[in-house]
């Protein structure tokens, strides 16, 4: 990767975009299989990194396509965010001294389960539709 910095900006942006999309594709599949707290966290990070790349290097990606993809990313981020919020709340609730029998933790556990189901559904659909390959082609990114 060190040699990448001597590339001109359009090529550099495409390389960075491809790297982040690769990572996102991996996290979509991983979290679609098991939405553990760590997997959901990593998915959110991968989405944000890819989104940042699209935003910072927007001059080098097709505008309309990038906009549509960012909208789709935000939707996935929202779904993942609902799960993540519950994970955090459960963690803080335990730190606050709540036991497993507490109404609060049981409520959040139930909410988490529901949010995770919705997220899993969306991710499996994304994987089935081969979203990352489509995005790669729309953004004119080369396979690394």
């Amino acid at each position: 990767m060190a040699a990448d910095c001597s590339k001109q900006m359009p090529a550099y942006a495409a390389l960075q975009g491809a790297a982040r999309l690769d990572r996102l594709a991996y996290e979509l599949g991983r979290t679609g299989k098991a939405s553990t707290p760590d997997a959901v966290h990593d998915l959110r990070v991968a989405i944000r990194r890819f989104e940042s790349c699209l935003r910072l290097f927007k001059d080098y990606f097709p505008r309309k396509e990038a906009k549509k993809i960012r909208k789709r990313l935000r939707d996935l981020l929202d779904l993942a965010g609902r799960v993540r919020d519950r994970d955090i709340a459960l963690d803080l609730g335990r730190q606050a001294g709540m036991g497993t029998e507490s109404v609060l933790l049981r409520t959040w556990t139930q909410q988490r389960k529901q949010a995770a189901q919705e997220l899993t559904l969306a991710l499996r659909r994304a994987v089935k539709n081969d979203l990352s390959t489509k995005w790669r082609s729309r953004l004119k990114l080369v396979k690394r």
């Binding site: 910095c5 001597s6 900006m9 990194r49 080098y60 803080l92 730190q95 409520t107």
Partner: protein, 192 residues
């Protein structure tokens, strides 16, 4: 940190662009941080700064290939700031979720709420101390700006090993039998 346009020079290399654009982002980061850790310290200001730190970090990470280990050191500072601010945001989000629950034993609600408030106060104080004494200590702005301005594109130069002839050719020239290769020397680095 205001939303900035990044006028990339397409004909220039990534390293040259990094040198040109990133120091300005670092300066904006300090301005926003001083505002957030200053007198105001309102949840809204801290939240805004958290988002800005996150954005700044992701932007820097996009230029990781252009810099050496010094960038990692700086990214660790941002990560630490994010940890403080992230925890504050987690407490606020959990508090909102708590308030959104219609039925909840009063004792549990109070216990959790009190914990969140206490943690928030402590973390906010810890953030302000970290910001003033470490992150924004005297000379830190220059530490960032000078690095981002002068060390882009040097990673390759500092880590490249001198070209060597193939082992077979070297043996032939010296007339020696093959020997085990010595351990590679650590890469020289002049980064601050």
């Amino acid at each position: 940190m205001k939303k900035q346009k990044h006028p990339w020079a397409s004909s220039k290399t990534a390293a040259e662009n990094a040198q040109r654009v990133l120091p300005g982002l670092a300066e904006s980061f300090f301005q926003a941080g001083r505002k957030a850790a200053g007198e105001e310290q309102s949840p809204k200001a801290l939240h805004r700064f958290r988002l800005e730190v996150k954005r700044f970090r992701y932007y820097l990470e996009l230029f990781t290939p252009c810099y050496g280990p010094g960038l990692k050191e700086r990214l660790n500072v941002l990560r630490r700031v994010q940890d403080y601010l992230g925890f504050l945001s987690d407490c606020a989000a959990t508090q909102r979720m708590l308030e959104g629950l219609a039925t909840l034993p009063a004792r549990e609600g109070k216990q959790c709420s009190a914990f969140l408030s206490k943690q928030s106060v402590e973390k906010r104080a810890a953030f302000v101390i970290y910001w003033r004494e470490t992150c924004d200590a005297p000379g830190k702005v220059e530490w960032w700006v000078n690095y981002l301005e002068h060390f882009a594109g040097q990673r390759r130069a500092t880590q490249r090993k001198p070209a060597r002839r193939p082992a077979k050719a070297r043996r032939k020239a010296s007339g020696k039998a093959p020997v085990a290769a010595p351990p590679p020397a650590p890469p020289a680095s002049t980064e601050p």
